[in-house]
């Protein structure tokens, strides 16, 4: 099945499955399926390469190839999922039989049966996500070299930088998905990321700064706006400044969020509450479609495409149920319009799937996950937003966030700038921003006119990891800024 494309050359690690044959084999597998009301076969081959340097030492270098087929069936209203890395027709048929028989057994004890799958826009054909500079053509020497140099650049920048690390990671994916409802698609994807962390100061008193980028694209896209050395130097510069900065005072006040923080707000605080599986489990968004949940200036979108700006890390075009992953407007001018669905939840809500079913590896089953989640642009410049703020903060640099099903959220900002009488006064140390998602949405009174995706280096965790992105313009809202994080 899988033909090794082995040349004794520098780039022989890449292997190209015999594509058409593969689709045909998967289709013939589906046609052999008996007693299933739905059947899906998803071949996914991934090559992950990772290089990590810490304080001048190579901490880790590895390349991991993971390929196989995940088979999912619906039998008597119950899901069965089985996977195998053996692509021989006999092994695939055995895997299908395993999924079918275990679903049948389980259906006998399952109370709430799956009612069916919503009719949705099935993808057919070949999809290739945009990339300039094929990662397969860049030698491993080059990937190790830039990672080493960026870490070195951070430490060399200043004596104050005691610790630095840098990470290069790439995911090269090929998928072939067929299902019994007409989906028949091949997808080629490439998602690299690069980041540097610099820590200023000694053990008791430190300040940490991150600088990174994670995208859907190629080598040229990854370093389109900044060189690898810039990432190191900028992380070091910021850590140095933060080290000298004071902490923010805790208060509920006006806060301008940068696009990265806006991305985190879209993803953590709102996005998760509108994932239909969480909605069904009783999230705060339940029963609120058509309701006013935010200020009229707010339009919030989750899209499988890279809308408004190029190379967003959560771009998929087609989801892992073979459904076209279009733009889904979650909130339109302040009104809640849609949840995020797979075909099963869409059936329950009587709508088509929004194309949010995603699986991380071939042996993971698709779950409802976000893609690129963002606020649409408004009309204000950042300058005007600051000028119109008598007292408040500009929060920059999205860090880890947490949010509960009730909409309470807390995230870290790496740096905060005090604003007094329409002017930036002082840079302050990292602070936490917290509030209730829907209250914060209602408090939004200015929306910026720029746009950026900026959480592409992160992974969203929900039983499995997923590469997602988020962003938007600058937003002005009211929330609580904490002191230490």
């Amino acid at each position: 099945m899988i033909k090794d494309n082995l040349r004794a050359s520098a780039n022989s690690a890449t292997r190209k499955p015999r594509v058409t044959g593969l689709i045909d084999d998967l289709l013939s597998l589906l046609s052999s399926s008996k007693g299933t009301s739905y059947c899906e076969a998803r071949y996914h081959s991934r090559l992950m390469t990772e290089v990590i340097f810490v304080n001048g030492d190579l901490q880790r270098v590895r390349a991991v190839e993971n390929a196989g087929c995940g088979i999912r069936v619906l039998v008597d209203g119950c899901w069965g999922f089985s996977s195998t890395s053996n692509m021989e027709p006999g092994a695939l048929r055995e895997s299908l039989a395993q999924a079918t028989s275990s679903a049948r057994v389980l259906a006998q004890v399952k109370k709430n049966k799956v009612k069916g799958l919503a009719d949705s826009k099935m993808a057919r054909g070949e999809f290739r996500l945009k990339a300039s500079g094929n990662l397969r053509d860049i030698d491993i020497e080059q990937k190790i070299k830039i990672t080493k140099e960026a870490e070195q650049a951070a430490r060399k920048h200043s004596k104050l930088i005691k610790t630095a690390s840098s990470t290069y990671r790439e995911l090269l994916d090929y998928k072939a998905i067929v299902n019994s409802d007409g989906g028949e698609v091949e997808i080629h994807d490439s998602k690299p990321e690069f980041s540097v962390v610099a820590v200023a100061g000694k053990t008791s008193q430190t300040a940490t700064a991150h600088e990174g980028v994670g995208i859907t694209g190629g080598w040229n896209d990854l370093f389109a706006s900044k060189s690898h050395l810039d990432y190191g130097v900028e992380a070091a510069k910021r850590a140095e400044k933060l080290f000298a900065a004071r902490h923010a005072k805790g208060e509920k006040t006006t806060i301008i969020l940068d696009p990265g923080m806006v991305g985190l707000l879209s993803h953590e605080a709102i996005g998760h509450t509108v994932e239909a599986d969480f909605v069904l489990a009783g999230s705060i968004a339940r029963d609120r479609i058509g309701e006013k949940v935010a200020s009229e200036m707010v339009t919030l979108v989750d899209s499988g495409n890279s809308d408004n700006a190029d190379s967003a890390a959560g771009t998929i075009m087609v989801d892992d149920e073979g459904v076209i992953a279009d733009r889904t407007v979650i909130i339109e001018n302040g009104t809640l319009r849609s949840f995020l669905h797979n075909r099963e939840s869409a059936m329950i809500f009587g709508v088509p799937s929004t194309g949010n079913a995603r699986a991380f590896h071939y042996n993971d089953e698709p779950l409802i996950r976000m893609r690129n989640t963002f606020f649409e642009r408004g009309s204000e410049t950042l300058y005007e937003m600051i000028k119109e703020t008598s007292h408040g903060y500009l929060a920059k640099g999205a860090r880890n966030g947490q949010a509960d099903a009730n909409g309470e959220f807390m995230f870290g900002a790496e740096e905060a700038f005090l604003i007094e009488n329409g002017e930036i006064k002082e840079m302050l140390r990292g602070a936490s921003i917290s509030g209730n998602a829907f209250e914060v949405l209602k408090s939004i009174d200015m929306v910026g006119n720029s746009f950026k995706y900026d959480i592409g280096t992160g992974y969203c965790g929900k039983y499995q990891p997923a590469k997602v992105d988020g962003g938007g313009p600058h937003l002005r809202c009211t929330a609580v800024i904490g002191g230490l994080q």
Binding site: I2, D4, L6, A8, A10, S12, A13, R15, V54, D57, L58, R60, V61, R62, A63, V64, E65, N66, A67, G68, C78, W79, G80, F81, S82, S83, T84, S85, N86, E88, G90, A91, E94, S95, Q98, A99, S101, S102, A103, V105, L106, V109, K110, K111, N112, D139, I140, E141, I144, K148, T203, A281, N363, E365
Partner: protein
């Protein structure tokens, strides 16, 4: 072409090929680690069976050294061609990597295979058996008390073989079987929602599957935390259940005894060998030869025999855990703690982290308490480097003058694990196996509880 044949000779042959291929491409040392497994899993969600999942996994990780430089490549395509490419790529990566003189592979030594980690009957344990076990667990929790709501859970049966070979002549394999299950959720009564609770169980043998027991413990915990009351802030004793000790204490100790953390200066225990780090009530060991824990196996990720390592004896720090690399950096011997999967080069890790039983019974630990809280779960942050913790008490019960009074709500607990260990004043005889930890109930004095 590989044809789904996982018989050991086939895989062992591939390992030999991997090493020979790597050497022929110029590797001075080469190692191949492979793992095959068959897994059957059933998920529970929202008081119902959700779906089944089964998989056959096999993969190989090839580690090579070229002039002291490390290269690593892993693949789950086990054809002869794919192995050849993987070995070639591992060498290519090593040639591009900086030299590190501490990189080396262990030599061949005797490894005795453990008994008690493989159950032959696991070969006939199918997805219908996994479904039955999951259904039994769900039913046991629901029938214990109507107020119990099972949010999610799972039952997994896995069996497989691990293979390791290196260019120093090591050639090992071992079969392992594991059964594990989890259940989580809450109790709901007239709009009063109890603390969330999570329980798990694990065994190497099918006859030791105890889903009923785990479900009952879970149901007891959630119904027992209904009707909680607010209390005032106070300073007093904290009695951790084994599950809470696993969340609050285990990670900090595991991190601090890891030689990698010690060498990176991120361990609080660095430089403290021979020093007292706790009251004399506690003895901690890492022991992969204890087959009660799921971390049991005969050899580590590099093929070094597993052994029992006493790390803290009666409160005094005795040793750190090493793999070949970190041991060489300090000029000591590996403790057999190389860990990791086929998809990364070896790290340093604990196997089964075990706290030896104490002298007191759980009941006497409670009856000796003046004022304190029994904590079933802890939800918050623990910093493994400096030991600081802060979070919310879950499933907490107030104790006064030896009597358990009532469940408490909105209580925060904060402190420092290293300081707490110096205030440890009770360890129970009773212990619980939590996947790969075996822990007693532990009681600490002088802990600050803050009303929310």
């Amino acid at each position: 072409m590989y044809r789904g044949d996982w018989r050991s000779p086939v895989v062992q042959d591939l390992l030999r090929h991997a090493i020979n291929d790597a050497e022929s491409h110029g590797a001075h040392d080469a190692e191949a680690f492979a793992s095959t497994s068959n897994e059957s899993e059933v998920f529970i969600e929202n008081n119902d069976i959700k779906q089944s999942k089964s998989q056959q996994l096999l993969s190989i990780g090839i580690r090579v050294l070229v002039n002291g430089s490390l290269g690593f490549y892993s693949t789950n395509i086990l054809t002869r061609d794919s192995i050849r490419t993987a070995a070639f790529m591992a060498v290519k990566i090593a040639r591009a990597s900086p030299k590190d003189r501490f990189n080396s592979l262990p030599g061949k030594r005797k490894v005795h295979l453990l008994r008690g980690v493989y159950d032959r009957s696991s070969e006939s344990f199918g997805s219908s058996d996994a479904a039955a076990a999951a259904a039994e667990m769900l039913e046991a929790a629901k029938s214990y008390d109507r107020r119990v709501t099972v949010d999610s859970g799972n039952f997994t049966a896995a069996r497989g073989t691990q293979f390791l070979a290196n260019s120093n002549g090591i050639e090992l394999r071992e079969k392992l079987s594991t059964f594990s299950w989890t259940i989580m959720g809450m109790a709901i009564q007239n709009g009063d929602v109890s603390s969330f609770d999570f329980q798990s169980g694990a065994a190497h043998f099918a006859r030791k599957i105890a889903v009923q027991k785990t479900a009952t413990e879970f149901a007891e915990a959630v119904t027992g935390s209904l009707g909680p009351r607010k209390i005032d802030s106070f300073r007093g004793e904290m009695l951790l259940t084994p599950s809470a000790a696993d969340e609050l204490i285990e990670e900090v100790i595991s991190h601090s005894i890891n030689s990698d953390a010690v060498q990176r200066r991120s361990s609080h225990f660095a430089g403290k060998i021979g020093k007292r780090v706790s009251t004399d009530l506690i003895t901690v060991e890492d022991d992969a030869t204890n087959t009660e824990g799921l971390g049991a196996s005969s050899f580590d990720r590099e093929g070094v025999a597993h052994r029992r390592n006493v790390v803290i004896e009666k409160g005094v720090l005795k040793k750190f855990l090493y793999n070949t690399y970190t041991a060489r950096k300090e000029g000591v011997r590996t403790t057999g703690n190389s860990g990791g999967s086929t998809s990364s080069p070896p790290s340093v890790s604990t196997t089964n982290l075990i706290v030896k039983p104490g002298r007191s019974s759980f009941d006497s630990l409670v009856s000796e308490m003046k004022r304190g809280i029994i904590i079933s779960r802890f939800s918050g942050n623990v910093n493994p480097v400096n030991g600081d913790f802060s979070g919310v008490v879950k499933g907490g019960r107030l104790v006064e003058n030896g009597n358990v009074l009532y469940p408490v709500k909105e209580v925060m607990v904060a402190g420092n694990v290293f300081e707490a260990l110096r205030n440890l004043n009770g360890v129970s005889k009773e212990r619980k196996v939590i996947i790969d930890s075996i822990l007693p109930y532990m009681r600490f004095d002088n802990i600050s509880f803050t009303a929310g």
